[in-house]
């Protein structure tokens, strides 16, 4: 009988995957910590949908959880060997996206602008450049931003319910920017692309809210209104034209 097939090969492979499993267990423990913190932050942010007064308070609370996450990310960064980020990244992509969403939401509520990838990375103590170590993946960042868009469309409707008619207009303008931004990307037929396709429904939802407010003159000083409307109308037109990403699909 030949010794061509050496069974020790399989033993070695078993050792290799056992090591990998061990590593994955360790990662799972840390990721669970982050998940718990993110969950608490999400719960705190839910208050914005029924009490506008508490937005500032909710944001401060969420920030605390977020900065606690940075600790866990530091542990992850120490655990993962250089150049093996994507070997294990499936464990944390989901939760990282969630955190991007939370941070983006907090920053928008506090300051009204879109959080940059650099700021998110800084808050979580991650790098933005892959070569520098444990980093914030660009696609995770973008996915998180898209999640925020959905939450904002919900927030727009709820702010109207609570009698804040100015907020949806601001959100609408913000979303128009966001939409224009995403249109600059050449997306492949992947998860990000699919998630981006849902953005137009969020935009549409907000446009409807703005329309309802404008047509009924619910905003204070409805006369000056006309000046604020054009960007919105422009965004609508933009939305109706064939999405330019479609040209890129094969």
């Amino acid at each position: 009988m030949s010794n061509f097939v050496n069974l020790s090969l399989f033993e070695n492979y078993q050792k290799y995957i056992d090591n990998e499993q061990e590593m994955r267990e360790k990662i799972r423990v840390i990721v669970r910590e982050i998940e718990q913190l993110a969950k608490e932050a999400t719960i705190q942010l839910q208050v914005i949908h029924y009490d506008l007064e508490k937005i500032g308070y909710a944001c401060a609370g969420a920030r605390k959880q977020i900065s606690a996450c940075a600790e866990s990310y530091k542990k992850l960064a120490e655990l993962i060997p250089v150049g093996q980020y994507y070997r294990y990244s499936d464990h944390w992509t989901f939760i990282t996206q969630r955190l991007v969403f939370l941070i983006a939401m907090v920053v928008y509520l506090e300051a009204g602008f879109l959080v940059t990838r650099e700021t998110v990375a800084e808050l979580l103590e991650l790098k933005t450049n892959q070569a520098e170590g444990f980093h914030l993946d660009i696609e995770d960042y973008l996915m998180g931003i898209l999640q925020m868009a959905s939450e904002l469309s919900r927030f727009a409707t709820n702010s109207v319910t609570m009698g804040d008619y100015d907020r949806p207009l601001n959100i609408s303008r913000f979303m128009a920017d966001l939409n224009a931004g995403f249109r600059l990307l050449n997306l492949k037929n992947d998860g990000l692309r699919k998630r981006f396709d849902a953005l137009k429904y969020d935009v549409k939802k907000i446009e409807e809210v703005v329309y309802d407010i404008s047509i009924r003159g619910l905003r204070n000083g409805a006369v000056e209104e006309a000046a604020a409307v054009p960007p919105t109308a422009e965004a609508v037109a933009n939305n109706d034209s064939p999405p330019n990403a479609d040209n890129k699909t094969e």
Partner: protein, 283 residues
């Protein structure tokens, strides 16, 4: 609070190559423009590697086909084996080197999906060549052992070139051989061994049938012993492997029971039932 600073009304035109015109004062658009560049770079690299991988797959399939053409009646074994070996070496020194260069300073796991089909097919071809070289060698049989992933890794490490003028060539580069890919690639080898076993029955080389079957059984034992959780790809391959082992064992049974007449019988029956799934649908 969200503010409206009227920045939407200011448009400054700026011409950048291949990029749409954007409002330079809009920080969102500016940021996204940078993201677009980064994403494009990643996608382009991925596509380039997919292309290279496809070339490797095609060449590997051709080499496997070539190795199957070894026939005792044609007495072409050494010639075919030499050609296959040269071509495989060429794949290592050209195609894999190109991917190694593409992946240099990048996380190989990020592009796993791009090169994995080519790598697996190559491993299948390489180990098949080794099998024929080592096991079916009349003069000096049983002289070698199948290469493992470390051996392959050594072959796919490309030392820095002496030519210092060429910057891209001045560091050592290597193509990372993932043990997972190796194990998946070798599992495909069993399909080739099964084919070899049945074809040999057709040409009357009953010894080859028996040795193929033995190797298959050993592979099956080895794979059976691996305990992997949540790897559907591997368990599917092990299932296919079981089918191959059963077919080969059936051939050996016929060899034993019918002796000399088995050759004729096998050529009529087994060869046909197998013929349908010979190609994995690449061509």
């Amino acid at each position: 609070m969200p503010g409206n600073n009227g920045r939407h009304h200011q448009f400054k035109k700026n011409f950048k190559k291949d990029r749409p015109l954007i409002d330079e004062n809009n920080p969102v658009l500016k940021a996204f423009q940078a993201y677009a560049i980064e994403l494009d770079a990643k996608h382009d690299r991925y596509e380039r590697i997919v292309k290279m991988s496809r070339d490797i797959t095609i060449e590997s399939k051709r080499i496997i086909f070539l190795l199957h053409s070894i026939d005792i009646r044609k007495n072409n074994k050494q010639k075919v084996l030499d050609e296959a070996q040269t071509r495989l070496e060429k794949v290592i020194t050209c195609n894999f080197k190109a991917i190694a260069e593409e992946l240099h300073d990048h996380d190989p796991y990020q592009f796993r999906g791009a090169y994995s089909p080519g790598l697996q097919e190559f491993i299948e071809a390489y180990t098949f060549m080794e099998y024929i070289k080592y096991v079916e060698n009349e003069e000096d049989s049983n002289q070698g052992e199948m290469i493992d992933w470390n051996g392959l890794q050594k072959k796919m490490t490309y030392p820095a070139g002496e030519d210092n003028a060429d910057q891209s060539n001045s560091v050592e580069k290597s193509f990372f051989v993932d043990p997972n890919e190796y194990i998946l690639g070798v599992s495909d080898l069993t399909g080739e061994l099964m084919r070899r076993c049945i074809n040999s029955l057709g040409s009357g080389e009953t010894d080859t049938c028996l040795s193929c079957c033995k190797a298959l059984q050993k592979f099956y034992t080895g794979y059976f012993s691996i305990n992997v959780r949540r790897c559907r790809e591997l368990s599917r391959k092990i299932y296919t492997m079981r089918q191959s082992v059963l077919k080969a064992e059936n051939v050996c049974y016929n060899v034993k029971v019918r002796g000399g007449e088995a050759a004729k019988w096998g050529a009529m029956f087994d060869g046909k039932s197998i013929g349908d799934d010979i190609d994995e649908g690449f061509f």
